[in-house]
């Protein structure tokens, strides 16, 4: 009887210590989640995708004749105080920089980089560009095909000397949007900072002057109206904004 009890205690201790190991092992790479059941399902999906799927597989690209009508939803003018996601600090700034055609817009890159930087629209257009015709898929259930032109995020991160400790890239927009992605998505060749759409400058409703295009996740992760990029070693309080509103962090499905 006592032998059995000891045995049981050993098992429990073993389980507890391995759980501790898992927790400490996960601290770097696990994306932010709630502790609740729904978020555990999302975490399982994320882990399974990262474990089982090739990291750099390209999303399908289409022909120019496939370009379709495209709806722009969410924030369509961050400078409009009537918008739901209007930011009292950055909304008025957006209105001003939109007025001078983004000549004074800068995208700042900071965090775990050797050379933090600020890029103007001209700077970005001088960098090597990538053009892709891809499908935008909304969590609501609709889809559209458009042509996107921009700088691969990887190029910008490398220009700033991204450090090996980097685990997440966090995007800040002129509306209240904040979102982060992991390094697999950040370094994906189709992940671009897009300034052009269908051969034109990105229209305001679609995220002018620059938006993220992340083709391996749903549209909600492709933040519009970018103003700031922060390279993170681990997620911070801002990362939780998306989750605090109830959305899953990972939207590859």
């Amino acid at each position: 009887m006592s032998k059995r009890l000891i045995h049981r205690r050993a098992v429990i201790q073993g389980l507890a210590s391995s759980a501790g190991l898992m927790l400490s092992g996960c601290a770097e790479t696990v994306p932010p989640t709630y502790g609740n059941l729904l978020r555990m399902g999302d975490l399982l999906t994320y882990k399974a995708h990262r474990l089982l799927l090739p990291a750099q597989a390209l999303a399908r690209e289409y022909e120019r004749s496939d370009i379709s009508a495209a709806a722009a939803i969410g924030t369509i003018n961050p400078g409009n105080s009537a918008e739901r996601a209007f930011n009292t600090e950055h909304g008025p700034v957006y209105e001003r920089i939109f007025g001078d055609k983004f000549a004074n817009w800068r995208l700042t890159v900071e965090g775990s980089v050797a050379r933090p930087g600020a890029f103007s629209l001209e700077d970005m257009k001088r960098m090597p560009s990538r053009t892709q015709i891809t499908r935008h898929t909304c969590e609501e259930g609709w889809s559209a095909i458009a042509e996107w032109t921009g700088v691969p995020l990887r190029t910008v991160l490398e220009a700033c000397g991204i450090k090996p400790s980097a685990r997440f890239i966090q995007f800040y927009a002129y509306d209240n949007g904040v979102g982060s992605i992991d390094m697999i998505d950040a370094l994906h060749p189709q992940t671009i900072l897009a300034y052009g759409m269908n051969g034109r400058d990105l229209p305001m409703g679609h995220g002018a002057p620059v938006r993220l295009r992340l083709e391996t996740q749903l549209g909600a992760k492709s933040r519009k109206f970018l103003r700031r990029i922060v390279v993170l070693d681990e997620h911070d309080a801002d990362t939780f904004q998306q989750i605090d509103r109830g959305w899953a962090w990972y939207m590859g499905i």
Partner: protein
């Protein structure tokens, strides 16, 4: 009289423990999937064919269950007039019903339970011979005459004294095997075809279904089939002794 013997009364045997466990897990996950699936559909209650479908393109089926699609609620803008066919953009001027925050997460959590319970069922079913002996229709039973006599026997309600559990009648075998090996896998695969990370890894899925929107439409068709199965299943349980059948599926016999 193959069909008559297949549904005649023989001594009660009941359901095995693993089959009961998997049955209730599958039932639970189906309810979670159906409920969250309808909530997800309500965010954009229009179905399309091909890769593209949104508020600016025609639908093949529209459910007038809420206000989510109102053409007059959109401000249309032709901003890409140098492209053939001049794709329009559009800005939604009203808020829609969207509970996808939790509905999507519940859908995928339920999907994991369905997948794991289904896989466990198939594994145990193959190991015990249950699938081969009890679920797969015997080839000779699939002759038109045998099939017809089985249908007419059901039409005459010659199942009032149906035994609990296997052996199953031909129609039962067709229904159970069809759900397990055709419709549930179809739902999983058509569902995964809606996931951008999955179709980046396996673009062939988009070819199989004819595009993201086609997969979404067929996912709904599959749901209708499974829902009809559930209705027929419950009707048969009631016609053959609701309390007796329920007890057997919980306690075994």
């Amino acid at each position: 009289m193959v069909a008559a013997t297949a549904i005649s009364a023989v001594p009660v045997e009941g359901h095995r423990l693993w089959a009961r466990l998997c049955h209730w897990l599958l039932a639970l996950s189906f309810l979670g999937l159906a409920f969250s699936g309808i909530v997800i559909l309500m965010a954009h209650p229009r179905l399309y064919w091909g890769e593209v479908g949104n508020a600016m393109t025609p639908a093949i089926l529209e459910f007038p269950i809420n206000d989510n699609h109102r053409p007059e609620g959109w401000e249309r803008a032709v901003v890409f007039d140098d492209i053939d066919g001049a794709p329009v953009s559009g800005y939604r001027m009203y808020r829609i019903f969207n509970e996808n925050r939790w509905a999507r997460s519940l859908h995928f959590l339920s999907g994991w339970i369905l997948f794991l319970a289904g896989a466990a069922y198939v594994f145990a079913g193959v190991a015990t011979g249950h699938i081969r002996q009890n679920l797969l229709p015997r080839l000779r039973d699939l002759a038109p005459r045998a099939l017809w006599s089985s249908v007419t026997a059901y039409a005459r309600q010659q199942f009032r004294d149906a035994r609990i559990g296997p052996p199953y009648s031909l129609l039962q075998r067709l229904a159970y095997a069809g759900v397990l090996f055709v419709f549930l896998p179809f739902m999983v695969i058509s569902g995964l075809t809606m996931a951008p990370t999955i179709t980046a890894a396996f673009p062939v899925l988009l070819d199989i279904f004819g595009g993201y929107q086609s997969a979404r439409t067929l996912h709904f068709v599959g749901f209708v089939v499974l829902f009809l199965f559930l209705v027929a299943h419950l009707v048969m349980v009631m016609l053959t002794g609701f309390r007796r059948q329920l007890r057997a599926m919980i306690l075994g016999s």
